[in-house]
């Protein structure tokens, strides 16, 4: 490129401001979308990669394989004593346990308890997790009275004074005084571990379930130096499970429970249990959206560049006459393209930086641009896209025979091939745009559906007191607190159960052998309920009755296992237990050696994530439900939730100030389940919206170019008697064809993508043809509006002017 080439590029960009804006702006927006979504995908796939030697760490998964169990699938949790048994059977195994984590306990200072992210770990923790230390060393955990805290916590508790040697009172199962022996660097955002305090696991098992196979209470991590070593170890585990699980799970225990090793870095996106792989799908989808948006922008750029290039044929011919050879011309055009893309990349980077706070807010993220990585990547992208985008115009233009271009009054049109290529690109661009629009519509419809669908209980006016789950509270106090809550003027009813809306409690399943059927029977979820539980939730009774304090037999605490208990089942359980109708189930006894008699059937109440299949459930009645291992109080209230919440807090602080207060409305609790999908939907919609915008910009630019090329033709047609309306119809029609053809690309693409996504939900909207027709209609309207303005202007132009316009 020489000085004149640069000058002509600069002038061409500044003179044709509109074209330059469309061309560079479209590409910049595409690059910005790609950057932001790429950062998102990178962030989501970078979990735990900050940890030194992360590739050697594996999480032990418990994989359940029970008949028809709602809990089947792999979970990153194990029983408490697994590591001890592994060490006994496989000497030399390196591992650690992490018990707790987010709100894993409380720090007590000046008699007031605050929740903290406390984890109890083995002394060998630092053999596996090489956390960067700021003060002290990880070996301090070998002393049972030592504690390590994070930098932030050290600053919060001790300010500028030296934290080492200070005393901290920490309660996990009971309050204990610890000595601060070290400070570790804060864990980064791309970590699933929420740990700010590390204390040694107590030597004595903290719960009686510690060595109970089938329980799961903490996470177990193992270290292997090579993937082969990990795989070899994994193969030794089924016999180990058979041997060790014999007492709790019977013969061939490994048929129903296995232990697998999952690389630590895969833990974040791996779905737990029967949940669909929504996290993975979301990341992949958004990465694809980013890539496709960039593709649309590149297509757009190439399209506009080739269209413009024809207009510059005369310049090229002149340069040839003046002695430029073909190579020089190709170089010039490639150089121009790379330079223009470079400007677009810079603008894209600025756009991404400016929009990041917005995207972070919409997506609940905390992304930042790592310039050390992004700048070289953008430079590579600039080079690739620039060469790609410049190649076709460069080749096309340098090929024109100079003489004929100069001799003829008008520019060559690029011929039919050029038109075809451009039309093909428009089809591709609009196809993706339509698919995006359909996708956005389905996503929005589904997230709305999930929020509004019937959960089987009234989600408004429902609140949960969750801090009663803490073992420090105790049954007596829980009962007193529940009684005090019932006295509140805004509370209509309150009930204790071991689970509640939002799934914030204990989650248990149990086999129910069926009479006359061999085997253990299907596995059902079971939930302990106290008095008024179904009243609080407003459950709809389908057959029989719900528990009643007046029926002495209903109280499972008052009866022993052998004599049997009364249960209420949900609709789903009717068919799981082999009944044809709810009525048929009433009075029937199931459960083999632990007989359970069905006294009622209620509509399914969906306490858990919409991505989890609705599970067959039976409910058990305790007259004193506070005696259950976990107790959550569900409260039906009226009026402003804040009033009730404040009243709950007052009651709480009067009775158990040493345990942090925690309560939430059902809406807040359920929102947890929707958040990830809402976030993904918002990011998708933003990406899709911008892709559509770029597509429109491209169409607009192309239409404007095309109209200009056809001004003479328009003039001829007008002298032949065509009216303005005829001309507008002609021009709009020409662009409608690729837009309609684009549906052939869009519909199958959107159909397959959206069907895959919807199967992740147990309860999902139908993939109605209306979504597709709507997307097409929207695209058509957008295309017509985009082209119509210019067509009308061109069609109104006086034909005499058009004919002189050469």
């Amino acid at each position: 490129m020489n000085r004149f080439a640069l000058l002509s590029l600069y002038r061409s960009l500044t003179r044709h401001k509109l074209y330059a804006t469309l061309n560079v702006g479209g590409l910049a927006v595409g690059i910005a979308v790609f950057l932001v979504l790429g950062l998102y995908a990178r962030f989501e796939t970078s979990y735990e990669k900050w940890l030194p030697r992360h590739d050697r760490v594996y999480v032990a998964q418990t994989v359940w394989n029970l008949p028809e169990s709602p809990f089947n699938g792999a979970y990153p949790y194990t029983m408490g004593g697994l590591l001890e048994q592994l060490r006994e059977d496989f000497p030399g195994v390196v591992g650690t346990r992490i018990r707790g984590g987010r709100n894993g306990g409380t720090v007590i200072r000046g008699g007031v308890a605050t929740s903290a992210d406390i984890a109890q770990v083995d002394a060998s923790f630092f053999d596996v997790f090489d956390l960067p230390m700021v003060r002290g060393s990880g070996s301090a955990l070998r002393q049972p009275a030592n504690v390590l805290i994070s930098e932030t916590l050290a600053r919060r508790y001790f300010g500028t004074s030296d934290p080492i040697g200070q005393t901290l009172t920490i309660a996990v199962d009971k309050a204990v005084n610890y000595r601060v022996a070290g400070v570790f660097r804060d864990l980064p955002a791309n970590s699933d571990f929420r740990i700010s305090v590390l204390v040694p696991l107590p030597a004595a098992p903290p719960s009686e379930q510690w060595f109970h196979w089938g329980s799961s209470s903490l996470q177990t991590f193992l270290r292997f130096d090579t993937p082969q070593a990990a795989r070899a170890f994994e193969q030794k585990l089924p016999p180990f499970v058979d041997r060790r699980g014999l007492a709790d799970m019977g013969k061939d225990a490994s048929r129903i429970q296995q232990i697998k090793l999952l690389p630590l870095t895969r833990m974040h996106l791996e779905p737990a249990g029967s949940e669909s792989a929504s996290a993975k799908i979301t990341v992949v989808t958004l990465a694809i959206v980013g890539l496709l948006t960039l593709l649309v922008a590149i297509v757009n750029y190439v399209n506009l560049a080739t269209a413009r290039a024809n207009v510059r044929a005369r310049e090229v011919a002149m340069r040839k006459v003046l002695g430029a050879d073909r190579l020089a011309l190709v170089r010039q055009f490639l150089g121009e393209a790379v330079l223009t893309v470079g400007v677009a990349a810079l603008l894209g980077l600025i756009l991404a930086e400016l929009s990041l706070p917005l995207v972070n807010a919409a997506g609940g993220l905390s992304l930042t641009i790592p310039y050390a990585l992004v700048v070289p990547a953008l430079m590579a992208l600039t080079l690739v896209v620039g060469l790609l985008a410049g190649f076709y115009p460069a080749l096309l233009l340098s090929r024109y025979p100079a003489a004929s271009v100069l001799a003829s009054a008008r520019s060559p049109g690029g011929g039919r091939v050029g038109t075809r290529v451009r039309e093909g690109l428009v089809v591709l661009q609009f196809g993706l745009a339509i698919a995006f629009m359909v996708g956005t519509a389905v996503l929005v419809a589904q997230t709305r559906h999930v929020r509004q669908s019937d959960l089987g209980f009234q989600r408004e006016g429902l609140m949960m007191l969750l801090s009663t789950r803490d073992s420090l509270v105790g049954a007596d106090r829980t009962r007193m607190i529940a009684a005090a809550i019932r006295e509140l003027p805004s509370v209509r009813s309150a009930a204790i159960g071991n689970n509640a809306a939002g799934g914030s409690g204990e989650d248990n399943a149990d086999n129910v052998p069926l009479p006359g059927v061999a085997g253990d029977g299907p596995s059902l979820r079971w939930i302990i309920t106290g008095p008024d539980f179904f009243k609080v939730y407003g459950a709809r009774v389908l057959a029989g009755r719900v528990f009643d304090a007046a029926h002495r037999d209903d109280d499972a605490l008052a009866r022993d296992m052998a004599s049997g208990i009364n249960i209420v089942i949900n609709r789903q359980a009717v068919s799981t237990l082999g009944f044809r109708s709810p009525q048929e189930a009433i009075g029937k006894t199931v459960g083999g050696k632990r007989p359970r008699t069905i006294i009622g059937v209620v509509e399914d109440m969906r306490f858990f994530s919409p991505r989890q299949p609705n599970s067959a459930t039976y409910y058990v009645y305790y007259s004193q439900p506070e005696k259950a291992f976990t107790a959550v109080v569900s409260i039906r209230y009226t009026g402003d939730p804040r009033v009730t919440m404040d009243a709950l807090r007052t009651i709480w602080q009067r009775s158990v100030p040493q345990v942090p207060f925690e309560a939430a409305t059902a809406d807040t609790q359920l929102t947890k389940f929707y958040e990830a999908d809402d976030r993904a939907t918002r990011l998708f919609a933003i990406g899709a919206g911008l892709a559509v915008l770029i597509g429109c910009v491209g169409l607009w630019g192309l239409a404007s170019y095309n109209t200009q090329m056809r001004i003479r033709e328009i003039g001829i047609r007008k002298t032949l008697g065509a009216s303005s309306a005829d001309i507008a119809r002609l021009l709009v029609g020409q662009f409608l064809r690729p837009v309609l053809l684009a549906n052939l690309v869009a519909w199958p693409l959107a159909f397959v993508a959206m069907r895959t996504w919807l199967t992740g939900f147990d309860d999902h909207v139908a993939l109605s043809p209306l979504f597709f027709i709507g997307g097409t209609a929207a695209a058509t309207v957008i295309a017509v509006l985009t082209v119509l303005g210019q067509s009308l202007r061109a069609s109104r132009a006086a034909p005499a002017w058009a004919l002189r316009h050469e």
Partner: protein, 225 residues
């Protein structure tokens, strides 16, 4: 058939006002062959465009038969052009993406009643001797052939008036003669023709000739028969 009364045409661009036509009074009767001559910029083309209704006079009356065209709307004028007029340009103005046959058929595209289109198109092409090139594209033809195709397009609709703007301007002598002979033959068959030309010899082939200078008609002469 045609009467122009006190036609003025002024162009205003930026701060410059140009008067292209001043006080033009002109009558063209049916079957006439009128040549318009004059130096560049004298208003010949503007006069032709005004006659063709692709340019509107600033003031004055334009009567075609008993219709006052100055009073007609945009849409009505388009229909009028389609039904009554045929255009021939110096630079042919054929559409590159259409074949000769399709270009000629375009002359019928904007008429309510085209009759038997195929027959009329092939008759028009026969008349100018271009039928053997029907399926070619414009760039595959010589200039003379392209102009003959353009004439075929102009006459396919059987117009009352043919407007030719330097039809031989881009052609060599032999091809120019050929085109002029076609126009003359059409005139003898009854077509009314108004032609702008720079060539005195071609102007002599018309029955009447007017000379223009600075937007005025300065001379008018009938050819002696």
């Amino acid at each position: 058939m045609i009467r122009l009364e006190q036609i003025q045409r002024r162009y205003v661009s930026d701060e410059v006002e140009t008067t292209a036509l001043r006080d033009i009074d002109l009558a063209v009767s049916a079957g006439e062959f009128l040549a318009v001559m004059g130096p560049s910029g004298c208003g010949k083309s503007t006069l032709l465009n005004t006659l063709g209704t692709v340019d509107r006079p600033t003031s004055g009356r334009y009567l075609f038969g008993d219709q006052d065209l100055a009073a007609m709307g945009e849409k009505a004028l388009a229909r009028f052009r389609g039904a009554m007029l045929g255009f021939v340009f110096q630079s042919f103005n054929l559409i590159d993406e259409l074949t000769i046959e399709e270009n000629v058929a375009l002359g019928l595209a904007y008429r309510a009643n085209g009759g038997d289109r195929r027959t009329r198109v092939s008759q028009a092409m026969d008349k100018v001797g271009i039928a053997h090139r029907a399926r070619h594209f414009p760039h595959q033809l010589s200039g003379g052939q392209q102009q003959r195709a353009a004439i075929a397009r102009a006459i396919v609709g059987d117009p009352k008036l043919i407007l030719a703007d330097e039809p031989t301007g881009n052609l060599d002598t032999a091809n120019g003669e050929q085109v002029m002979n076609i126009l003359q033959a059409l005139n003898e068959e009854g077509a009314t023709i108004v032609m702008v030309t720079h060539s005195p010899s071609h102007a002599d082939m018309a029955r009447r000739r007017i000379d223009m200078l600075d937007g005025r008609i300065v001379a008018s002469a009938m050819r002696a028969i």
